[in-house]
C-alpha cells in the first residue's frame, strides 16, 4: 500500500503497540534531549531484568501491531538481551502475522552476527542512525561512526533478512554545505533503504548544542534547512520514495507502523525509564531516573511518574495536531470545521498552507506545520 494512503493512515488508529526505551549511549549527542545515560553500561543487566518485570506486571492485551525499541541506543544492548525483552513482550501480549518489530541501531554497534541474532529473535525492521555521510558533519554532530559503517550495516541487515531497513539523516547542521548534504542523500539512495527519515537539526532547550549556540556558536539556519529539505524531497521522489509525513519517506509497503500508529492516536504501552504510553483517554510517562525506575519496578510498583487525562476536545485538537503531520491529512471533523471558520485558520487557508477538499484537510506546506498546529491548539473548545 502507498505509504501516504488515507486508508493506511486511518487504519493505524486501531493499531496497538509497545515502545521500549533503552537509555544507554556510548556518548550523548550534543543535540539530544531524550532520556539518556552515558557510560552506565554496568546497569544493562539490571535494566533488562527490570523491563521484563515491568512487562510481566502488565495485564494482558490484544496481539500487537507494532513493537519499537528506541533510545538512547538500543544497539548498546547485546542482541541476546534485546531478544529476551522481546520474548517477554511476545509472551505477554502476542503478535500478529505482520507485526512490525523495529529497532534503532547505531552503525558502529552493528555487525553481521548481531543482525542474524536479532532476526532469529524476531526483529524484522531496523532503523540506522546514519545522520550523514560526511565525516566532518558526523564529527560536529558528535557521532562515533564512519560513513563506511553505514554501508556495512545496511548490507549485513539485508543479508540477515530484515524486512524493512531505514536510515535517519540529519540536515542543516551548521557548517554542512549544500554539496555535502546532496552527497549524503545520494549515498543514502544508493544503499536502497526501504525507508528514510530526514530530520532538520533542531536546537532543543537544555542541550549542549543549545548552550554552545548561546555562547556564540552558529545556529542552524531556517533558509538553509528549507533549501536542503526541498532538495532532498525532490531527489527522493525521483528515486521512488513517497513522503508520508513531514520527515518520513518510504517505498510502497514500508511505511513505519509505529509512526503511523502514533499520528493516528493509536494506543501503545511504554516500557523502560522515561518511556511514554497512551491508553484510552490518558497519556502517561515513566520515571526518568534509572535507579528510581529500578526501585519502583523491583518493589512491584508501576514505574509511572505522571499521567494526564485528556478531555474530548483535547483529544480532538490532538487528532488534528498529529494527523496533519501526515500527507494523508485528517478528516475535518469538529476541530477541522472550527479551524476553517477561525480567523487564524482562515489566514492559513488563504496562504495555502492548508487545503480542504470538503472532507479531508491536508497541510500543503509541510515545513510550516507548526503554524498549523498552533492555530489548532488556539481554537476555543468547540461543541465536540
Amino acid at each position: 500500500m502507498r505509504p501516504d494512503s488515507v486508508e493506511l493512515a486511518e487504519a493505524a488508529a486501531d493499531w496497538i503497540g509497545t515502545y521500549v526505551h533503552v537509555p544507554f549511549c556510548a556518548r550523548i549527542c550534543p543535540y539530544c534531549d531524550f532520556n539518556v545515560v552515558e557510560g552506565r553500561d554496568d546497569y544493562q543487566a539490571k535494566f533488562v531484568t527490570a523491563v521484563q518485570a515491568e512487562i510481566a506486571a502488565e495485564p494482558g492485551w490484544e496481539p500487537l501491531d507494532s513493537v519499537a525499541f528506541g533510545g538512547g541506543t538500543p544497539s548498546r544492548l547485546p542482541p541476546e538481551a534485546l531478544t529476551e525483552v522481546l520474548s517477554a513482550i511476545r509472551s505477554r501480549f502476542g503478535f500478529k502475522i505482520n507485526t512490525e518489530i523495529s529497532i534503532e541501531a547505531n552503525p558502529e554497534d552493528w555487525s553481521g552476527a548481531m543482525a542474524e541474532s536479532l532476526i532469529r529473535g524476531g526483529f524484522n525492521r531496523v532503523s540506522f542512525g546514519a545522520q550523514s555521510f560526511d565525516p566532518g558533519v558526523l564529527a560536529s554532530l558528535g557521532r562515533m561512526h564512519e560513513p563506511t559503517d553505514i554501508t556495512r550495516g545496511v548490507q549485513s541487515a539485508r543479508r540477515a533478512g530484515f524486512r524493512s531497513i531505514s536510515l535517519d539523516l540529519m540536515f542543516g547542521t551548521p557548517g554542512e554545505s549544500a554539496e555535502s548534504w546532496h552527497a549524503s542523500v545520494e549515498q543514502a539512495v544508493a544503499l536502497e533503504p526501504d525507508h528514510l527519515s530526514l530530520y532538520a537539526l533542531t536546537v532543543e532547550r537544555g542541550t549542549a548544542l543549545s548552550r554552545s549556540i548561546t555562547a556564540g556558536a552558529p545556529a542552524p539556519d531556517e533558509d538553509d534547512q528549507a533549501d536542503k529539505y526541498e532538495m532532498a524531497q525532490a531527489r527522493l521522489a525521483d528515486a521512488g520514495y513517497v513522503r508520508y509525513e513531514v520527515s518520513n519517506f518510504a517505498r510502497p509497503g514500508h511505511a513505519c507502523r509505529y509512526n503511523l500508529l502514533t499520528w493516528a492516536q493509536g494506543e501503545y504501552l511504554g516500557f523502560g525509564p522515561g518511556a511514554h504510553g497512551h491508553r484510552g483517554t490518558y497519556r502517561y510517562r515513566n520515571i526518568h531516573r534509572l535507579d528510581a525506575y529500578f526501585q519502583a519496578v523491583l518493589e512491584g510498583r508501576r514505574p509511572e511518574q505522571g499521567r494526564e487525562a485528556q478531555t474530548r476536545w483535547e483529544r480532538e485538537q490532538e487528532r488534528l495536531m498529529l494527523g496533519l503531520r501526515r500527507v494523508a491529512g485528517v478528516e475535518a471533523g469538529c476541530a477541522g470545521k472550527a479551524l476553517a471558520k477561525d480567523d487564524w485558520g482562515r489566514r492559513l487557508f488563504a496562504a495555502e498552507l492548508l487545503v480542504w477538499d470538503g472532507t479531508r484537510i491536508v497541510v500543503d506546506k509541510p515545513l510550516m506545520g507548526s503554524e498549523v498546529a498552533r492555530a489548532v491548539l488556539a481554537l476555543a473548545s468547540g461543541d465536540c
Partner: protein
C-alpha cells in the same frame, strides 16, 4: 509684625553645584532642623529628585536667623528647579523673592542654566549674591570662577563669597550677606494682595497653595478671593514651612507660607493668581507670569491595553502637581489607545514617564517626541499640529513652520569647533560668541527645537567630555522645508512611526526605521515589504522574507505531550501579536523600535 525682619530669596545653581546641600546647611545653622533628624537634602523630597540630583517642584522653607549683629530675621528660602525644562518654574519662584543667591561650583565654573536663570533674576530686578561653592575640593579654582562671575555679572571678583556647603565654611558670612544685601520686602498698602507662586495636591488636605503676601495680612479664618477665578474660599489654615508645615495665625506683608482652603481640584487654583479679601475695591493684580507652554509632545500608550484607565488616572494625579503637563486622548493603529502628552522639554518628559512607570507601576510605550508645527493651509487657515498624524496632505499646505530656540552653550573653548560642527548638522546658526575667560566660551545659536529635543544634549555632552552645558529659550517660528515620513508595513502606514522631519533628513530617518523594523518583525507566511515614504514616494525599502520552515522535525509517541506543550507556549506568544493589516507584529517590536531613540 513688620516686614523689616524678612528676607525672601532663591538659590540659583546648576545641577550638582550643591544647592540642596547648601539649603540643608542653612537649615541646620539657623536651627530650623536638628542635625540628628535631618534627612540629607530635605528640599528634594521626591525620590526621583534625590536620584537624579535635581529639584523639580519649587518649595519654600522658613529659617529663623539671628544675624551676627544680634538682630532676628526671618529668611524665606524659595527653591527653584535647576534644569532648562523648568525655567517657567524658576520665574515664578523668582517672582516671590527680592534676591537670589547665585551658586557656582568652584571646580566647574558657570554653566549655561545658571547663567540663564541669573539673567531671569536680573530681569526680575532681584539682588544677586554670587557665591562659589565646594572650595574644599582639590580641583577647586575659586579665583578663576570668581573672575568668570565678575565678568558675567559686572561685579568685583573679591565680592564673591566662597563657601563649602559640605564643611559649612562661609555659611555664616553668606547668611549675613543675605540679610545685609537683599532688600526687605516693601509693601504698597494695607489691603491684602498675596501671590500664589506654587501649589500642590495633598491627598489628605486638598490643594495646598504656596503664597507670598505682598500687601496686607492673610489670616486663618479669612474669606479670601482668587482674582483669576473670582472664587471665594475660607482660609482654613495658613502656616509656614520650617520645613515641616506649622500653622500660624496669620502671614504679614512680605511673608511666605502656605494656605489651605479645602479646595480639592487643583485646576481651580491658578498658580500666579493674586489672592485678596472680597470687597476690596479695584485690586491691581500682582504681575503673574507666562503660562507654561509645552514644547515637546509624545504619545504615551500602555503596553497592556487594559491599563488605559490606570494611565488616565495616573496622568490626572500627576497633573494635580504639575500644571505644565497637558494630555489628550490619542488613538494609534499600532499602539492602541493612549494619550498625546505635552511636556516642557525632554527631561520633563522623562520624569513624567518614569514617575508613571515607577509610582503607578505602568509599563508604557512612548512615541518619538515631536514639536508643535504651524501650518498655513492653501485655503488660508492656519493652525498648530502636535502630532504627525494631524498634518494635512502636502497639496493642502501653503506654509509649514517649525519652532526655533535660542540655545546658549557654555563650554571650554577648545571644544568650539566640535560644537559648531554639531550645531551645523542640526541646522543651527550662530547668533553670537563670548569668551568668559581665555578657557571658557559662551556660544549662542538659533536652532530648530525639533533638533534640540531629540538627543542634542547627549551629543553635546559626549563631544565635550561632559564639560558643555546647555540652556535654551523659545524663539520664533520659521518656515522650513519639512516633510512627513510615513512607515508602511505591507502597504499599510504604521502611525506610531510617522514623523515630521526636514527634507534632508527624511531619507536617513526612513532608512533607519525600515532597517530596524526588518529586524524586529518576524517572518510571516508571505513576504512583507517595509517602506518609508513621503506621500506616495518611497524613499527606503526592506523586505521581511516569508518564513520557510516552522515545523517540529520529530514527533512520535514519546514526544506528543512535550511537543504539544511547546506548541501551546508558542501559541501564547502568538496571541500577544498585534495585527497590522495582515501582518503579525509582536507587541514589543513597536516598543523596541521606538525605545532605541529615547535611549541613545
Amino acid at each position: 509684625m513688620t516686614s523689616v525682619s524678612v528676607r525672601n530669596f532663591s538659590i540659583i545653581a546648576h545641577i550638582d553645584h550643591g544647592k540642596s546641600t547648601l539649603a540643608d546647611r542653612m537649615l541646620e545653622r539657623t536651627g530650623s532642623i536638628s542635625e540628628r533628624n535631618m534627612r540629607a537634602q530635605v528640599l528634594d523630597s521626591m525620590d526621583l529628585e534625590r536620584e537624579r540630583g535635581i529639584t523639580i517642584k519649587a518649595q519654600a522653607v522658613r529659617l529663623d536667623y539671628h544675624a551676627s549683629d544680634g538682630s532676628a530675621v526671618v529668611l524665606n528660602l524659595i527653591d527653584t528647579p535647576g534644569h532648562v525644562d523648568f525655567s517657567y518654574e524658576v520665574s515664578r519662584s523668582l517672582a516671590a523673592c527680592e534676591g537670589a543667591v547665585l551658586l557656582v561650583d568652584a571646580a566647574q565654573g558657570v554653566e549655561a542654566q545658571t547663567l540663564a536663570n541669573a539673567y531671569l533674576a536680573i530681569e526680575a530686578g532681584l539682588e544677586i549674591i554670587p557665591v562659589i561653592n565646594k572650595i574644599d575640593l582639590p580641583a577647586a579654582d575659586p579665583d578663576k570662577v570668581a573672575a568668570e562671575i565678575a565678568l558675567i555679572l559686572g561685579v568685583e571678583a573679591d565680592g564673591v563669597i566662597r563657601v563649602s556647603a559640605k564643611t559649612g565654611d562661609g555659611i555664616e558670612e553668606l547668611l549675613d550677606r543675605i540679610v545685609r544685601d537683599i532688600p526687605p520686602p516693601t509693601s504698597e498698602g494695607d489691603e491684602l494682595r498675596a501671590l500664589v507662586f506654587d501649589s500642590y495636591y495633598d491627598s489628605y488636605r486638598g490643594v495646598v497653595c504656596y503664597v507670598r503676601v505682598v500687601d496686607g495680612v492673610l489670616a486663618a479664618g479669612d474669606t479670601v478671593r482668587f482674582s483669576a477665578t473670582a472664587e471665594r474660599h475660607t482660609a482654613a489654615e495658613v502656616g509656614v514651612l520650617t520645613p515641616l508645615a506649622v500653622p500660624v495665625a496669620q502671614l504679614g506683608p512680605g511673608e511666605v507660607g502656605y494656605l489651605i482652603t479645602g479646595v480639592k481640584e487643583i485646576d481651580r487654583i491658578r498658580v500666579g493668581d493674586t489672592i485678596t479679601h472680597p470687597g476690596q475695591a479695584a485690586v491691581r493684580p500682582l504681575p503673574g507670569y507666562a503660562e507654561p507652554r509645552p514644547m515637546v509632545y509624545s504619545g504615551l500608550f500602555p503596553s497592556d491595553g487594559d491599563d488605559l484607565e490606570r494611565l488616565r488616572e495616573a496622568l490626572e494625579k500627576l497633573r494635580m502637581n504639575d500644571a505644565s503637563l497637558v494630555f489628550e486622548p490619542e488613538t494609534s493603529r499600532a499602539l492602541g489607545f493612549g494619550f498625546r502628552c505635552g511636556f516642557l522639554g525632554l527631561l520633563h518628559m522623562e520624569i513624567v514617564r518614569e514617575r508613571l512607570e515607577r509610582e503607578y507601576n505602568l509599563d508604557l510605550v512612548a512615541t518619538a517626541p515631536s514639536v508643535a508645527y504651524r501650518v498655513t493651509a492653501t485655503d488660508g487657515s492656519s493652525f498648530e499640529i502636535r502630532s504627525p498624524q494631524d498634518l494635512p496632505d502636502r497639496g493642502k499646505i501653503e506654509l509649514l513652520e517649525e519652532p526655533y530656540v535660542r540655545a546658549m552653550i557654555i563650554a571650554p573653548s577648545e571644544y568650539t569647533g566640535t560644537i559648531m560642527e554639531l550645531v551645523q548638522t542640526r541646522r543651527g546658526s550662530m547668533d553670537h560668541m563670548q569668551y568668559l575667560s581665555p578657557e571658557r566660551v559662551e556660544l549662542t545659536y538659533n536652532l530648530p527645537l525639533a533638533e534640540v529635543v531629540f538627543d542634542f544634549f547627549d551629543h553635546l555632552k559626549s563631544r565635550t567630555r561632559g564639560y558643555a552645558s546647555l540652556d535654551y529659550e523659545p524663539g520664533e517660528y520659521r518656515i522650513s522645508d519639512l516633510v512627513k515620513v510615513d512607515i508602511l508595513l505591507n502597504g499599510q502606514p504604521v502611525d506610531a512611526f510617522s514623523t515630521i522631519t526636514h527634507n534632508e533628513k527624511a531619507y536617513l530617518y526612513g532608512k533607519k526605521m525600515v532597517e530596524r523594523l526588518r529586524q524586529l518583525i518576524p517572518r510571516q507566511l508571505f513576504d512583507v515589504p517595509i517602506q518609508a515614504a513621503i506621500g506616495t514616494r518611497v524613499i527606503a525599502r526592506e523586505t521581511v522574507k516569508a518564513r520557510r520552515k516552522d515545523v517540529i522535525a520529530k514527533c512520535y509517541g514519546g514526544d506528543v505531550s512535550r511537543k504539544r506543550k511547546l506548541l501551546e507556549r508558542q501559541k501564547e506568544g502568538k496571541k500577544r501579536m498585534k495585527m497590522v493589516g495582515s501582518v503579525e507584529v509582536p507587541q514589543d517590536a513597536f516598543i523596541s523600535a521606538l525605545r532605541v531613540d529615547t535611549e541613545t
